[in-house]
């Protein structure tokens, strides 16, 4: 059976469990492409993708579905096509635009898990409020240079509000996003979602894990479970 390799680790009911979830991936930059890819290969059935942008040359260093052929095409459209090549039975909704404009879209409000893969603080804070309003968990991930962070945030944790405060820009504006950091952080985000869905221990519940792949330093920086 397709994707059944995952069941060796995750159990016989894995495909049933993942099929019940509707994943909302907001942002299809470095993180979002790898997240959408991983969710599809895990056997997800329902996916909603949101991004306003088109693929550009500057994306080629790190964005999974960017290529010479897909330049200038809307990311949501390209990623949808590629995912359907992996699983033609995937129910994938591609929404081109800002997430704020789709906040009452019937597929968006149906999401059971939201992935925060956007590239700006303002939208991240909006997503934290949106997930709280929808009463669904938010899988947070962010990157910049050698560094990244991941957390699995339940409604009401307000961890991002605490973390970013009144900041408007992050270190990535200076350090950039090298080829190797997005797949690491994106797949760690998916890993947290899998643990949540299967009730597996070790979830970064209302915690923020700091990841420094330059010095190999990984530590939980914020813990809002207390």
């Amino acid at each position: 059976m397709v994707f059944s390799e995952n069941a060796k680790l995750l159990g016989k009911d894995h495909l049933e469990v993942i099929a019940e979830s509707c994943f909302l991936v907001v942002g299809l930059g470095g993180l979002g492409g790898y997240i959408a890819n991983a969710l599809t290969r895990l056997g997800a059935k329902q996916l909603v993708l949101v991004d306003f942008d088109h693929f550009q040359e500057s994306n080629l260093n790190r964005q999974l579905f960017s290529s010479r052929e897909t330049l200038n095409r809307p990311k949501v459209e390209v990623v949808k096509e590629m995912l359907l090549q992996i699983n033609p039975n995937l129910e994938v909704t591609a929404l081109q635009g800002n997430i704020q404009d789709y906040s009452d879209h019937r597929r968006v409000v149906k999401a059971t898990l939201v992935f925060d893969a956007v590239d700006n603080i303002k939208t991240r804070l909006w997503l934290e409020s949106f997930a709280e309003m929808q009463k669904v968990p938010l899988v947070h991930g962010a990157i910049g240079g050698w560094y990244g962070q991941v957390g699995f945030l339940m409604p009401g944790s307000k961890l991002l509000k605490t973390l970013y405060g009144t900041k408007e820009r992050g270190i990535e504006k200076t350090l950039g996003s090298p080829t190797f950091i997005p797949p690491i952080i994106a797949n760690m985000m998916v890993n947290e979602a899998v643990k949540w869905l299967h009730n597996i221990e070790g979830l970064l519940l209302n915690k923020l894990l700091f990841i420094d792949i330059k010095n190999h330093d990984y530590q939980i920086l914020l813990d809002h479970t207390k």
Binding site: G27, G170, I171
Partner: protein
């Protein structure tokens, strides 16, 4: 001794951890100044388990055995 932990590029030329000699009245702003850290580059400061934005933490006086973390905003996607 006050232990200070730095994250991401704040570690450049400063290291991951710096020990500070404690003195009465030593504030987080004093530590940042001695480390030549611009608080506008810092997203959150955690001192002995309490976390908040730099504006609210800068005047906090540390204790003899405090642990202070300075963390910059990471927001790329």
């Amino acid at each position: 001794m006050v232990k200070v932990k730095l994250y991401a590029y704040l570690r450049d030329n400063r290291g991951k951890e710096v020990d500070f000699e404690y003195r009465t009245g030593l504030t987080i702003a004093d530590i940042a100044k001695e480390l030549e850290l611009d608080l506008s580059d810092v997203s959150i400061i955690i001192c002995d388990g309490k976390d908040d934005v730099p504006e609210k933490m800068k005047d906090v006086e540390v204790k003899e055995d405090s642990l202070v973390h300075f963390f910059p905003p990471v927001a790329g996607g």
